[in-house]
C-alpha cells in the first residue's frame, strides 16, 4: 500500500553528489530554497531550475522511480497550476471561451509557482536520495553547533533526528504488516464509502502508535543500559569537506549570481 513512497529512502550510488559532504548539500538546498522563494522573474527561475535538473542527472538517480514517488505531490502541484491559470484575471487575455479566461499574467504565475515548488521538491529529493539519513543528522548537528552557546542540547536533538529518520522505513514496513493483518480480518481500506474509509483508520493507527511507543521505550532502555550520555558522544566516521565541496560551493553560488545579473 505504501511501497512507492520515496520519503526517507536513500539510493546508494557513487556519483559526484553522493560523495559530497552532507553539510555542503544541506547548505546548497537551504540557499537555493530561499532563492527560489524570493525569485519573481521566470528567466532567473528557469536558469536555477536547469541547474537543479543538471544536478539531478549528475546524481544518476532513476528519474522514473523518483517521479513515481512524487506523483501525489505533482498532482497537487498541477491543481495549483490550474487554479492560477484560470483564476488570475490580470494581464492580456490569451484565450477566452465561455467563463474560461486565460490571461498572460495567469499563465506566468502558474508556471512560476509550479516551477518554484517543483524545484524545491526536486532539491530535497536529491538531498535525501543521495545522503544517508545518519549523515543528514550528523550534518544538522554540525550546522546547529553555534546554538550550544545558548545551551541548546544539539547532540540530543541530532540523536532524536537521526532516530526519527532511521525509523521511517521501519514504520512503513510495520504499517504494511498492520494493514495486512487487518485486511485479512475483513477490514476494507479501499472502500468507496467515506465513512468506511474513516472507520478503517483506528485499526491501523492504534497498533502503529502502541508499537512505536513500545519500541521507543525499548530503545531508550537499551541506550541507558549502555550508559548513553548525549554530550560525550563521538562519531565512528568523520566526514571532512574536500576539494569537490569547495568546487561545488563555488559553482552554485556562481550560477545564482549569474542568473541574477543576466536577467
Amino acid at each position: 500500500m505504501f511501497d512507492g513512497i520515496v520519503l526517507g529512502q536513500y539510493i546508494p550510488g557513487e556519483s559526484f553528489l553522493h560523495r559530497l559532504n552532507p553539510i555542503t548539500k544541506i547548505v546548497f538546498c537551504l540557499f537555493f530554497m530561499i532563492v527560489f522563494l524570493f525569485i519573481e522573474d521566470i528567466f532567473q527561475l528557469l536558469t536555477l531550475f536547469a541547474f537543479v535538473i543538471i544536478c539531478f542527472f549528475i546524481s544518476s538517480l532513476p528519474l522514473l522511480h523518483v517521479l513515481k514517488g512524487l506523483k501525489t505531490i505533482i498532482f497537487f502541484l498541477l491543481i495549483t497550476f490550474v487554479m492560477h491559470l484560470f483564476f488570475s484575471k490580470e494581464g492580456v487575455v490569451l484565450f477566452e471561451y465561455s467563463f474560461i479566461v486565460i490571461t498572460s499574467k495567469g499563465l506566468y504565475n502558474a508556471i512560476l509557482i509550479f516551477l518554484r515548488i517543483f524545484s524545491i521538491i526536486m532539491l530535497n529529493s536529491i538531498l535525501t536520495l543521495t545522503t544517508m539519513p545518519t549523515d543528514i543528522a550528523w550534518a544538522i548537528e554540525k550546522l546547529l553547533y553555534p546554538l550550544r552557546l545558548f545551551r541548546f542540547p544539539v547532540e540530543d536533538f541530532a540523536l532524536m533526528l537521526s532516530l526519527s529518520l532511521r525509523f521511517i522505513p521501519v514504520l512503513f514496513e510495520e504499517l504494511n504488516k498492520i494493514i495486512d493483518s487487518q485486511r485479512s480480518r475483513g477490514a476494507m481500506f479501499d472502500s468507496p464509502s467515506f465513512v468506511k474509509k474513516i472507520m478503517a483508520f483506528p485499526p491501523i493507527l492504534i497498533p502503529l502508535f502502541v508499537n512505536s511507543f513500545q519500541r521507543a521505550e525499548e530503545i531508550a532502555i537499551a541506550m541507558e543500559t549502555r550508559c548513553y550520555s548525549g554530550s560525550k558522544r563521538t562519531h565512528l566516521n568523520i566526514i571532512r569537506p574536500g576539494l569537490i565541496d569547495v568546487l561545488f560551493f563555488i559553482t552554485f553560488v556562481s550560477v545564482a549570481l549569474i542568473s541574477f545579473y543576466l536577467f
Binding site: D3, G4, I11, P62, H65, K68, E174, K177, I178, D180, S181, Q182, R183, S184, R185, G186, A187, M188, P202, P203, I206, P207, V210, N211, Q214
Partner: protein
C-alpha cells in the same frame, strides 16, 4: 461445524516486490504444490525465503505476477471480491501486537466476524467458543483490555480472533514463538481438533520439533525457490543433510539418531564386505 473437502493448488507462482523499480526484489520463483484438508502443511525456510509472501498470496493480500492459486478449483484472481477469499482463509500473523486495537477482548474477537457479515449474536457466540478453545476463559477475559495482557495471552486472543470468523483454511505464522511448553501443547491440541473439523491447516515455522509433531506434508523454500515439497518424514529421514542445514532447519533428534544408525549400519556393511573380499 464440519467443513467439507478443501484443497489448495498453487501452480508455477512467481512474485516480485516493487516490480519495475530499482528496489525490485524477487520473493517467489516458480512455486507449485497441491494440498488438501486431510494433511497439515508445514512451510519452512530461512528468513527472506518467501514464506510470508506465499501466505499473503493465499489470502490475496497480493496477486501473483505469474501462475495461479486455486482454492477448491477456483482461481483466486477470478474472484472479484477479496472478502470472499479472506472469509475462507484466515491468517494468524506472527506478531499479535500488529492487530490488537480494540478496547476490550470481546470487541477484538468480533471485529473479523462482523466485517465478514456475521450477525452480532452469531459473532459473539463464535467469539466465546473461539477464546475458550485457545484455553482462555471467555467470561474472565472478555472485558479486559488486550494491551494489558501478557505476550502469550495476546497470542491466544489473536488466534481466537481469527477462529471466530470460522475460516476453512487457517494459516499460522510462527505460532510457537514466545510460547511456553504448556501453551505449545495446548496449541498442538487445538490444531489437531481444527484438523478433525475438516479445516485446512498451514503452518510456517522454524521449529522442526513442532513441525515434526504436527505436519504431514512439508514445503521447503530457499532464496525464493522451492527446494522440496512432499512427505515430512521422507524429508527429515532421507533428504540431503547439508541442504537441510542450508535452509535453517534443525533436524529433530529422532531423525538424527535414525540417520546415525543408518550410517553406522552402512559402515558396518562396508567393513563386512571388505573383510569378505580379503578372506
Amino acid at each position: 461445524m464440519i467443513v467439507n473437502d478443501t484443497n489448495i493448488k498453487v501452480d508455477s507462482v512467481s512474485f516480485t516486490y516493487n516490480n519495475g523499480s530499482i528496489f525490485q526484489k524477487q520473493a517467489l520463483q516458480d512455486i507449485s504444490f497441491e494440498i488438501n484438508n486431510k494433511d497439515i502443511l508445514g512451510i519452512c525456510g530461512n528468513t527472506g525465503s518467501g514464506k510470508s509472501t506465499l501466505i499473503r498470496l493465499l489470502n490475496r493480500l497480493i496477486k501473483p505476477d505469474s501462475g495461479f492459486v486455486k482454492i477448491n478449483d477456483v482461481d483466486l484472481s477470478e474472484i472479484k471480491d477479496p472478502m470472499e477469499i479472506r472469509r475462507k482463509v484466515g491468517i494468524i500473523f506472527q506478531y499479535p501486537d500488529n492487530q490488537l486495537f480494540e478496547s476490550s477482548v470481546k470487541k477484538e474477537l468480533v471485529y473479523g466476524p462482523l466485517n465478514f457479515g456475521f450477525k452480532k449474536r452469531e459473532a459473539l457466540s463464535q467469539a466465546r467458543d473461539s477464546l475458550n478453545r485457545t484455553g482462555l476463559d471467555y467470561h474472565k477475559y472478555k472485558n479486559r483490555n488486550p494491551f494489558s495482557l501478557s505476550g502469550g495471552e495476546k497470542r491466544k486472543v489473536a488466534i481466537a480472533s481469527i477462529l471466530s470468523s470460522r475460516p476453512e483454511v487457517i494459516i499460522f505464522d510462527e505460532p510457537t514463538a514466545g510460547l511456553d511448553s504448556n501453551s505449545r501443547d495446548n496449541l498442538i491440541e487445538l490444531i489437531f481438533s481444527l484438523k478433525k473439523e475438516g479445516r485446512m491447516i498451514i503452518i510456517i515455522s522454524h521449529d522442526s520439533r513442532f513441525i515434526d509433531k504436527v505436519c504431514d506434508k512439508l514445503l521447503v523454500l530457499s532464496k525464493s525457490k522451492q527446494v522440496y515439497f512432499g512427505d515430512r518424514e521422507e524429508f527429515f529421514s532421507r533428504f540431503d543433510k547439508s541442504t537441510i542445514d542450508d535452509v535453517g532447519i534443525e533436524l529433530p533428534f529422532e531423525y538424527k539418531v535414525l540417520r546415525a544408525d543408518r550410517e553406522k549400519n552402512s559402515i558396518k556393511k562396508i567393513k563386512e564386505f571388505i573383510n569378505k573380499k580379503h578372506v
